[in-house]
Assembly symmetry: C2
Homo-oligomer: 351 residues x 2
């Protein structure tokens, strides 16, 4: 266990942490005293039918979801919905390698699956808030993997599901991409098999991860149109790589990222149906919106559309953004406007 200020409330905003008890993980190990970080907006109504669960992705915590997707006048308006944003395990705020003491600390943190997150979130929602129905589960990227897992596992509980930039069954291409991120970090001698003394010791590995992420995280058009300048205000391509991408990953914890990368690679709802993806997605009762990002190189729209066709009650809504996968961070109001439009339409469906 080490301390890392990046994950403190000073940087992450106000959040609560609940110890949901021991969590028996899919891989067999038990995560002792699993802690989930969460933040809520709005109030659960008397009918308990206005709860929205928001999940988190690889490189973000609940803070970016709160900042980018929730607020007055937004589709996810606290005046109307009780919004619960839960950090995934490994986020750095929920139980993670860097913040777990004792026998499961650092390199000894157990392997966690997307399904484990859903188990943990269910426990939190029930025990903490008495939630038994979800008006919507919403998430992007790894957060979207969690949404699919929710919709397949709890078809009666999840009334609506919205997935941005994610797949229900990770492709080998994406698995391989994630492997390059993992290798970028684990090849850093200062990673020391996970036993570094401070997160920043692994700066070389995180820097390499940032550069690889820069290649597929955005899009060729993003660079060609110099959106790093017009959208992000950086002075040059190199300024963008150093000032945005390296700076983005630099304060994060390597083991936490590796925990999530391993989980990301194995996101696959067909685990529940012996590899039959059509059967797994066929279980979904929620009204679904499958929303890939037009220029996403991790989860190309074509891959998402193939899954959309396997979901009984789904609509396919492509979000146009040359920012590609990284559009998720909401740099461009044109992106968030599209997400809001789709979410409003989805929420208008009678459950």
């Amino acid at each position: 266990m080490i301390s890392n200020d990046f994950y403190s409330p000073a940087n992450q905003g106000t959040y609560s942490v609940r110890d949901i008890g021991d969590l028996v993980l899919e891989e067999g190990e038990t995560l002792r005293g699993c802690k989930l970080a969460y933040r809520t907006h709005g109030k659960l109504n008397a009918a308990r039918d206005n709860a929205v669960l928001v999940t988190t992705w690889f490189s973000g915590t609940g803070k970016v979801m709160e900042d980018v997707y929730v607020g007055p006048g937004r589709a996810l308006d606290p005046a109307r919905y009780f919004i619960v944003i839960v950090d995934q395990i490994g986020s750095g705020l929920s139980s993670s390698p860097h913040n777990t003491p004792g026998a499961q600390s650092m390199a000894y943190f157990p392997k966690v699956r997307i399904g484990d997150d859903v188990d943990a979130q269910l426990r939190l929602l029930k025990d903490e808030f008495g939630i038994t129905d979800l008006a919507l589960v919403f998430g992007g990227s790894m957060g979207g993997q969690q949404v699919y897992e929710w919709a397949v596992r709890y078809p009666d509980m999840v009334k609506r599901a919205a997935v941005v930039a994610a797949t229900a069954c990770n492709t080998f291409h994406d698995f391989l991409f994630t492997e390059t991120l993992i290798e970028a970090v684990t090849s850093d001698p200062n990673w020391r098999g996970g036993w570094y003394e401070r997160s920043e010791d692994v700066r070389d590995g995180l820097s390499r991860m940032a550069v690889i992420f820069s290649v597929l995280g955005w899009s060729t058009e993003f660079y060609e149109k110099k959106r790093w300048q017009s959208l992000l205000g950086m002075s040059s391509e190199r300024d963008f790589i150093n000032g945005v991408m390296r700076a983005y990953f630099a304060p994060m914890d390597a083991n936490d990222l590796l925990c999530k990368a391993w989980k990301w690679q194995r996101g696959d709802v067909s685990r529940h149906t012996a590899g039959d993806l059509a059967k797994a997605l066929g279980r979904i009762k929620a009204k679904c919106y499958v929303m890939p990002i037009s220029h996403d190189m991790f989860f190309p729209p074509r891959d998402c559309e193939a899954e959309h066709r396997l979901i009984p009650n789904s609509e396919f809504r492509v979000i146009e953004a040359v920012e590609g996968h990284m559009a998720l961070n909401g740099f461009d109001p044109a992106y968030t406007a599209q997400v809001d439009k789709h979410l409003r339409e989805l929420l208008a469906f009678e459950a």
Copy 2:
């Protein structure tokens, strides 16, 4: 200087080497006793107007060009053309870090530009064969960068130019991708700043390079359609990564690859026109065929088309291949058939 059997005739087929003398490089240093490896097919006719220059790419030598693109009954038929395949500097056969003795060996090998290759090739063609006209210059990827350089620099000498899967001015996106390849190698402690004792010592770095290359070198469709099985006969995705991709890079020399990667990043014909790409490409007199590969993630057709529009006498011919950039290696007869068709049409144009 070290020895590496991968670059011996036993593995590379028969080739000649000519010492073209000292080569003053764009970056200022002089490559002492520059050696070019080449192989010829066919005979130069009396009019000396049937010479075809074939260039090489990042991960290949003249051998793959010979095996995949030249032969009786092919567009590049030795019965009709005098075909000269020249290995680029850094290929491992021409002057390269690993095979250069003395003061320019290994990490001390000077920085080489695409323009230096063209200078060297011109000298070889003139001095060795008395060639003053080129019926065609043909190459793919980095070989295509050389073709563009030829066509811009020697507009009267180059009658026809065919570029597969390459750009005349490298994009920042591609620069960044290449940087991830470089970092994969240089982060290997066994690379030792370029002073390893045997090429195979850098196996970890080359392995990481192979995995990164696997993500963008093929395409998402290649993996989705399991072409590693139907086309390449591998038993699983992992079998493909280990048996094809790691095995492909494993015998190569790290410094040689780094030499070429640096060169690749900086391919840009607008060096000759103070950054004005339209002006540079506007100089071309050759009949050009710009032939991107449909699924190429390094050089997407869109990037190539933008350049094509700047060339006075150019046709845009997309080659359909889910193999993406790696289609260049000619695994699929459907790919080579398309290339041959286009080359035949191009060669039929009166120069």
